[in-house]
């Protein structure tokens, strides 16, 4: 009585692994905290706390804060990928994956494709919260989808980077604190919450070089003009370059484990 097995392929294995990650999240809904609760909370908190001080009112502040929180949420969702991978590697389950006659890369690929779902949820949550707070961009819905996709692509590109950190680090705690620090520094030292001009000179320089500023600026421009801009193209190129550079590095680090 033998068991009929197919020569399983990368795609099939990857989708199984992505399905596994989805199941894990379903069983632990608190994993949705950072993609659902966090953007809602931040949007409300920042909007109502600082709206008046920074922009003279919540309504006026929304065009600034919505893209800001959107990208911050992408950063934090992407950073979860690193600690998730580290935890997996440290658990016995990974030994099992490695001892199976399956595509070697599937667990990593499954994680990174599973991340897309988290990023989509995070994007929808952020934008919807903005809408309920009174955010009404004047561009058509199509452009909203475009900025959503741009945000998701950015988040996904970053998750390769965080995955690399997860693979290189020794402990899950290291990954977590690194991710939190990076997330805070990148999002606060940018134009996510305040206009660049309001920053002190040295901070302005840092913020200008911060890629997060570039992404947020591009999104604001699309929302303001209703057209594909030079800076949006730059973001697209930037995201793809990250993937092109870091995907092989991440795979290399993964192979080393």
């Amino acid at each position: 009585m033998t068991i009929q097995t197919h020569n399983s392929n990368v795609l099939m294995n990857t989708s199984t692994m992505a399905y596994r990650n989805l199941l894990k999240t379903m069983h632990n809904p608190d994993q949705f905290m950072d993609v659902i609760v966090q953007p809602v909370m931040f949007m409300l908190m920042f909007g109502y706390l600082f709206g008046g001080a920074i922009a003279g009112g919540v309504q006026a502040y929304l065009p600034t804060i919505v893209p800001g929180i959107l990208i911050q949420t992408m950063l934090s969702a992407a950073s979860g990928s690193g600690s998730q991978i580290r935890e997996d590697l440290d658990s016995g389950v990974f030994d099992r994956f490695k001892s199976l006659p399956m595509a070697h890369i599937a667990p990593l690929a499954g994680q990174l494709f599973g991340d897309v779902l988290r990023l989509i949820i995070a994007t929808i949550t952020s934008l919807t919260t903005g809408y309920f707070m009174g955010w009404r961009p004047e561009v058509g819905f199509g452009w909203i989808v475009v900025i959503g996709l741009l945000a998701i692509l950015t988040g996904w590109a970053l998750s390769w980077l965080f995955a690399l950190v997860g693979l290189l680090a020794k402990h899950a705690e290291t990954v977590q604190s690194f991710s939190l620090m990076t997330m805070l520094v990148l999002s606060f030292m940018s134009n996510a919450f305040v206009p660049l001009k309001s920053l002190t000179k040295p901070l302005q320089v840092i913020a200008r070089f911060n890629p997060v500023t570039g992404v947020i600026t591009a999104i604001r421009q699309i929302l303001a003009t209703g057209s594909w801009t030079q800076s949006a193209l730059l973001v697209l190129v930037f995201d793809l370059s990250i993937v092109v550079v870091f995907a092989p590095l991440t795979v290399w680090a993964y192979d080393r484990n």
Binding site: I3, S8, R20, V93
Partner: protein, 311 residues
């Protein structure tokens, strides 16, 4: 000896830093047998197993699974064995059924076949009642059973078990032994590691004793016991003054020297027929004895004699 071996391990060595954890180990496992790796904590059992199952790269040496090199034909070799690691290698965040489904799919079963196999294994390992509970609520025994079930999805011809019964209560342990015996009856080859001598004695056809990364001895449990001496006669001389006399009168009757520990005397017996003349000699010399026993060697003796252990 042209028959293909289930496992061929040759000159396996692994260093972690300066510490040689596995030191030039070689052995073969025949198809259909239960082969035990026996050794104290830190002996290198898990490390050896991890190299055999392609989880860890050996520094030097070679492993063949049913004739296939684990490095050159990794994927093929991996398709021929199932592995249950020392530490739970199932997904604790999802249910037993989901674990079996996912690992079935990863093993290349079609969705339909995976469903069917999952149902079979849940039944076989008495996990049906808890199939959809999160594993967090599972007892150690249930987890261990699920772990083994996952290793058996493809009915592999060779199964690696790293300390399959550590942490199980006596009843669950006996059940696990029965499960392993059942697998062997169905034609599987089993390679297991254990620190328990009774387990090795009960299950293994052949044993390799490992200590400090070195292979100390390979043989059947009976052969290993023979190594540390055969049957022993042990008794206590009641009167301290008579001990010397006893040793003297027994000397012509025995082939190896009589061992004396306080008032207790130990004599190695080559044959049980030596027993009668020995007792007669004692009787004739009017020596009072008590607490007489004839002891078969146990694997404990083997373990204690052959291994030094970490400490």
């Amino acid at each position: 000896m042209t028959a293909i071996k289930a496992v061929e391990v040759s000159h396996l060595t692994k260093k972690f830093g300066h510490q040689t954890v596995v030191n030039d180990i070689s052995f073969d496992v025949q198809p259909g047998e239960v082969f035990g790796l026996l050794g104290p904590n830190g002996a290198g059992k898990t490390t050896t197993l991890r190299m055999m199952t392609t989880l860890l790269k050996a520094d030097t040496g070679q492993v063949k699974i049913f004739g296939h090199d684990t490095i050159k034909e990794g994927r093929l070799a991996r398709s021929m064995f199932g592995l249950t690691g020392q530490y739970a290698s199932v997904d604790a965040d999802i249910s037993a059924r989901e674990n079996l489904m996912i690992f079935s799919r990863l093993n290349g079963l079609s969705r339909q076949a995976a469903k069917q196999r999952t149902a079979e294994l849940l039944a076989e390992f008495s996990l049906e009642h808890a199939a959809d509970d999160p594993l967090k609520n599972f007892s150690g025994g249930m987890r261990r059973r699920l772990d083994l079930a996952v290793s058996l999805i493809t009915r592999p011809a060779l199964i690696f078990l790293d300390e399959p019964t550590t942490g199980l209560d006596p009843r669950t342990r006996t059940q696990m032994w029965e499960t392993i015996r059942q697998l062997v009856r169905q034609g599987s080859t089993v390679l297991l590691t254990t620190q328990y001598l009774d387990e090795a004695d009960a299950l293994a056809d052949r044993l390799a004793v490992i200590d400090h990364g070195k292979l100390v001895k390979v043989g059947t449990p009976a052969e290993l016991k023979q190594q540390v001496g055969g049957t022993k006669l042990v008794f206590t001389v009641s009167e301290r003054a008579q001990v010397a006399t006893a040793v003297r009168v027994l000397a012509p009757q025995v082939t190896t020297a009589v061992q004396q520990i306080g008032q207790q005397l130990q004599i190695s017996l080559n044959q049980l027929s030596q027993l009668a003349p020995i007792l007669a000699a004692i009787n004739q010399a009017k020596i009072e004895i008590s607490q007489l026993s004839v002891q078969e060697p146990s694997l404990d003796d083997v373990f204690m004699t052959l291994t030094v252990g970490k400490n």
